[in-house]
Subunit: 349 residues, 2 copies
DNA sequence: ATCAATATTGGGAGCGCTCCCAGAACGCAG
DNA sequence: CTGCGTTCTGGGAGCGCTCCCAATATTGAT
């Protein structure tokens, strides 16, 4: 009776055109319009052209919710960073990871959804989000051994690839990691080759596997070179102040040290301050090599830091590749993919 | 005939329980289950308890796609960073923004979806994403005057709040910005009070409004103090090297300068290098004040930098507040909300 | 006991899309 | 001109949810 014979351009509640509108405008059925838009097989070129034109004219954009309701795909992937807030702010490596993640995911047509997890409440929220079907899969960075997240994720039927060690999980997970131990070896070998004989280290917090591996690499290489690691190692928390204090302790105990391998650029900045303050020249008196090769920090230090370089792009790329295979239904057996690191030589060693 | 009388626990294609399953399990109707889960009014406590228990037992999580198909709400908000990749990597301010955005949005029950926009292709992708109904609104950082994004966004019927100037748009947009000019004034006044009379500046790229305002603030305050700004300003690109080179030029032209206001911490790091290299003591010969008060960089420099502090958390909080009002249908007239900045005094001035 | 209000429930419709299937149109050989 | 395979099209069903509305249960007052 009412409006039955009136042309209603946009029947929808909000003003946006639907597929039905496009179809009507193009003079075809909803099905044909759908096929044209998703360039399926079996659509006449004529129909396709008409639909595409109509879509353009109407300013049509498919409703993602409706689509993913039926396809069971969201086109989104979560990037989960599980780490205390304080650490993250300081960490340019994570920034690179985000950026690379965005790029790589966009490349394969997925949207990145970033999740920060710091503390129990966040964990609950993140789990709910991941379980809620918002994303097709997740790339997860959870470097801390005590982190409950990796274990919790295993209960979800969601494809997950870890960047670096997955908490304390040793197997059954897809991992793309760097050769931390090899990086430490590279650094120490460089120092040994330069004739240094009392090579100290400032290790990272040993609740992180990466830090443990770097320390192990230092120790093994020092021993391998016939040198003595005794009294030459201190642990710090990856911060500037931590690095400075650790260097203080090291210097107090072994004022004769002639080189130090520091497990992160940030700690190296602190160590540099202690060394300079103590009147040591770098690299003259003490050679310094750090880890991360932070694009901003390492070259900005005085002197610029020789540092072990890890390529976040490569890591993320491999993670995305693995995740996409998983999403495509490939039956890859979970394994740890180890990426090589290199050394960027600057003035500090 | 087949399976008609068989109890099918999970009719769904994939294994996840639906609301219908929960309802059946709890012995109530789909409607009641929905009400219980969304704690609507008019549900008996008994029913509610049963439903909640059933949901828990079954491990039920609502399907977001289905929900937002009908509610027309996604529970997600985009955080858009429109800037060349290179800049972003270096910029810890952006990291803080992301983090604060995540926090603030989580607080109001929204999920943050991060979008990086660098170049035309990204812009297209971003627009499609934003138009596609993936998010309820957007928080946008587009500091470059020539950025086409802000203008493009106006065509969308999507609530948007900008952080800092919205490209070259002057009105009709919601903006939350910092008092860049006031910050510059703070810095210069501090230098003047310390008796400096030849106060130079290293300005940021003048295609960004913030950089323009900082330069303007410097000039106005220098003039206001009865000093002469001639020959004392150089422009750089916010990078370390840019800062170093600009300082070189400045020193070549006016070797008598006794203070410099640098528009970013990163450039200040470069300037410091030049100054130290030229044998100037800081702050003895030349006092340095920068902008950003980058949590990592400013205190890590030698000497630690006196810097103008802006609080990303406050900015983002205000942006989220405004966006939420917009989403709630409030008819706020677009305006620019200017936040104050403070000065963190360290050794460099 | 009786009635009107109020509290609670269940079913139907529909959000916008994709997929399936039956049928129409078209081609070309018999 | 018929038959059969191929290409193309349209309608129906349904994804899982929320909202509306009518139906029923409960309560308190008369």
């Amino acid at each position: 009776m009412k409006g039955d014979d009136v042309v209603i351009v946009r029947p929808g509640g909000d003003g946006r055109p639907t597929l039905e509108d496009v179809a009507a405008f193009a003079g075809v059925s909803r099905s044909t319009a759908s096929r044209a838009l998703n360039d399926d097989a079996y659509v006449s070129t004529r129909a396709k052209e008409k639909v595409l034109a109509a879509a353009k004219d109407l300013g049509y954009f498919p409703n993602q919710a409706a689509r993913s309701l039926v396809t069971r795909r969201t086109g989104a992937v979560a990037l989960v960073l599980s780490e205390p807030e304080a650490r993250l702010l300081d960490d340019p490596y994570r920034t690179s990871v985000m950026r690379a993640g965005y790029r790589e995911l966009a490349e394969v047509g997925s949207q990145m959804v970033l999740l920060f997890v710091d503390g129990h409440e966040d964990l609950t929220r993140a789990m709910r989000f991941l379980e809620g079907g918002h994303v097709d899969g997740a790339l997860v960075f959870a470097p801390h051994r005590a982190d409950p997240l990796p274990k919790a994720l295993r209960l979800l039927r969601l494809p997950v690839v870890f960047g670096g060690q997955a908490g304390n999980l040793r197997r059954g997970v897809h991992v793309v990691d760097f050769d931390n131990e090899g990086g430490a070896r590279l650094a120490v070998e460089h120092l040994v080759a330069a004739g240094r004989t009392r090579i100290a280290t400032i290790a990272g917090p040993q609740d992180q596997t990466a830090a443990v591996q770097r320390l192990a690499g230092w120790r093994a290489t020092v021993l391998g070179a016939g040198l003595d690691p005794a009294d030459l190692s201190e642990e710090a928390d990856f911060t500037l102040d931590g690095g400075r204090d650790a260097m203080d302790r090291l210097l107090a105990r072994r004022s004769d040290l002639d080189a130090v391998f520091v497990a992160s650029d940030m700690m190296a900045a602190g160590a540099l301050r202690t060394l300079t303050g103590a009147g040591r020249s770098i690299p003259g008196d003490v050679a310094v090599i750090s880890f991360d090769d932070h694009a901003t920090l390492a070259p900005a230090m005085n002197p610029p830091l020789t540092s072990i370089h890890q390529e976040p792009g490569a890591q993320v790329r491999q993670m995305v590749t693995t995740l996409m295979s998983l999403l495509a239904g490939a039956d890859i057996k979970p394994r740890s993919h180890v990426l090589p690191v290199t050394m960027t030589v600057r003035e500090s060693a």
